[in-house]
Symmetry: C2
Subunit: 399 residues, 2 copies
């Protein structure tokens, strides 16, 4: 247990105030005081320090409850967009997406590199990532010195605390200290995080879990990932490890262990050689569920059967996750959603069947087909969160 001292106290309350300002837009001090249950005195002191550090701004217009309200008008406070810049990235097997955001999480520029980096040597991947980051930063009219943190979201088992990639489908090698590698190349602090965690935070900050403090997200991409939000923070397993759902075992088949990845991974469904590649292309682009549906209707039954089988496997897995975590909401994201109705229906049916009766109705399934930008934005949010959380100038110079 961490030892508590006044500084920690301040850090906690500071974060609480800053987070309240971030979440509830322009907001007055009184309202912050109500929401955080801190006294107005304390809120004033903290906001003064935040203003002093340039993390927030005042705005004198915009009191919504205006129109003939007596009394001194409230001064609205909001996060200073320009207090920091971060880069977020989603590194996937067949593409990389970068975003630059400001301190508020607004996207300043986006860059998509549709390159298959799958199984390239580390050095090549690192080169490409470095290039992408630099170009995206230039696109935003900035220089790397203006960037405070970079966060790379990638699939696989990642140790967030140390930045080690224990294993990832995009790396041939295992146990790479990718954070150190990229920090050195970019000479900017670089965080490595599971892509699933990144989009989990994205949904908490900007998406479909804004109002929840507990939630589970399942990402269905080439790799199957899991993100758990617990008490407004990412649950990162014991050792800070990310979760790799694809490794889950569904049972014993004829030739041994059957893992989820063999049933529901992108490659498992597409089967590469079995179909003509048009379908794979559509899924890869993440576009046009209608297009895919048309393909499915026209295509052979094998593909539909694969989609149904995958949906079943995922549905059961979700039920199992719900059994363990009982979250109020489960968000499903990822390219596999583009498989359309056959997949989704079979998923829903399997879930309904597999969820324990005692937990029926506890968790709500939500499907989300955000673009890759959103994942990258989530990575940016991970970086921002670390900035928010860092004491920064808690013990700054006196004014």
């Amino acid at each position: 247990m961490k030892t508590a001292d006044p500084e920690l106290m301040r850090a906690i309350n500071r974060l609480s105030v800053l987070d309240t300002i971030r979440r509830h837009g322009p907001i007055s001090r009184v309202e912050i005081s109500e929401r955080t249950e801190l006294s107005t005195t304390t809120v004033s002191a903290i906001t003064a320090s935040l203003l002093d550090d340039g993390l927030i701004l005042t705005r004198h217009e915009g009191d919504i409850r205006n129109e003939a309200v007596r009394g001194r008008p409230r001064v609205m406070l909001e996060v200073n967009p320009d207090a920091a810049r971060v880069v977020g990235a989603k590194i996937a097997a067949s593409r990389m997406v970068f975003v630059v955001t400001n301190f508020r999480g607004d996207v300043l520029s986006t860059l998509t590199l549709p390159i298959r980096i799958d199984r390239q040597p580390i050095a090549v991947i690192a080169d490409l990532v470095e290039d992408g980051v630099r170009r995206c930063v230039v696109d935003a009219g900035l220089s790397l010195e203006d960037v405070d943190t970079v966060c790379l979201g990638l699939p696989g088992v990642i140790e967030h605390r140390t930045g080690h990639v224990r294993s990832s489908p995009i790396f041939r090698e295992t146990n790479i200290d990718f954070a150190a590698e990229m920090s050195a190349r970019l000479s900017t602090p670089t965080i490595v995080e599971s892509d699933a965690h990144a989009i989990t935070l994205a949904h908490h900050w900007f998406g479909k879990a804004r109002e929840l403090e507990d939630m589970v997200l399942i990402s269905l991409e080439q790799t199957l990932g899991l993100g758990v939000l617990h008490g407004n923070r990412l649950f990162r397993g014991a050792g800070g490890l990310s979760h790799n759902l694809g490794d889950l075992v569904l049972g014993m088949g004829a030739q041994g262990i059957v893992r989820l990845s063999s049933q529901a991974g992108e490659s498992a469904i597409l089967g590469e050689k079995q179909t003509d590649g048009r379908f794979a292309e559509a899924v890869r682009l993440g576009r046009g569920m209608t297009h895919v549906q048309a393909l499915i209707q026209a295509d052979d039954d094998r593909l539909i059967a694969a989609a149904v089988r995958a949906g079943e496997a995922v549905g059961i897995t979700i039920a199992n996750i719900v059994t363990l975590f009982a979250p109020p909401r489960v968000i499903l994201v990822g390219s596999s959603l583009a498989l359309g109705e056959p997949f989704l229906n079979s998923l829903r049916d399997a879930y309904a069947l597999a969820v324990p009766p005692s937990l029926k109705g506890v968790s709500e399934l939500v499907f989300d087909d955000s673009t890759d930008d959103f994942w990258a934005q989530g990575a940016a949010a991970v970086a921002l969160y670390e900035l928010y959380e860092s004491p920064w100038s808690t013990t700054g110079p006196a004014l």
Copy 2:
């Protein structure tokens, strides 16, 4: 996020100190200061208050590092055993075990009632439990007024925060407010907790996870339960729900969903009518693995096959849990361990096969065949933890 004030600060540090004293036996103030990283001044203040409240005691002997050390001798501090009494209980389908412990968790009296309460009406069960608590308290030479808290550990899905039993194999009804019912009957604060959580805490306090802050426990009884220790505290899912592993789905069989409970629950293995009951008896008593082994050797192959199949299912499940939580240790407890080698070997094999290669070696499997007393003691520990954690006289009367 909870708002931080000086009182919270003190509460945190107080708990930290008290917990350090509990865990590290008689211990001096200097050593507490080292372990908690609090200043000796603060430790002195806090211990003074703890002494004042009668929660700890001083002892002037017992400095281990003795033998001609110069300087003022250390005064050892230890938890005052008599600062509180709690009752812990394990309520299972075929028996109830009660313990009364002191503030240190030492068992003062034990009572086992080998009654099958399975599917009795609530009122009957409540009667029996009430009776058991009262008798055990009398056995300890106490009266119920001397008891600060009662904690009942039972199988099923339990909402710890509210004391609601959402579903339990020992209740016909669902959604019982059992905590309120028993609190009223005993006129003593009563906590209801999952039995798996109870024994998880037991292992953290007294057993095979004393030195760990993260750990996973799997209980193999009539019901299959899960306890997760995360950062020295029980991880209770989003809504404070317990986990019911038996509801996990292993796959689709011929006639629909195959749940773990149908493969590895006690009744699934014993099959009640298939065997002659001697085996079931032995397992139920939790005694004599050798006896059981002898029975298995003498018995028909069907039983062994069932044990092997169960072991396989559990092994896979453990691998899946490890995939999700990556704990440094997994402790296995419960009556099913008495199945002996066929079960354990198949479990180990299935686990080794099913655990993802990237996590190989991360988690260590530990088997534990404690008696039911230990479970009840864990329930007592849950009660004690709440006492430890409660601010109590943080803002007590000035001396």
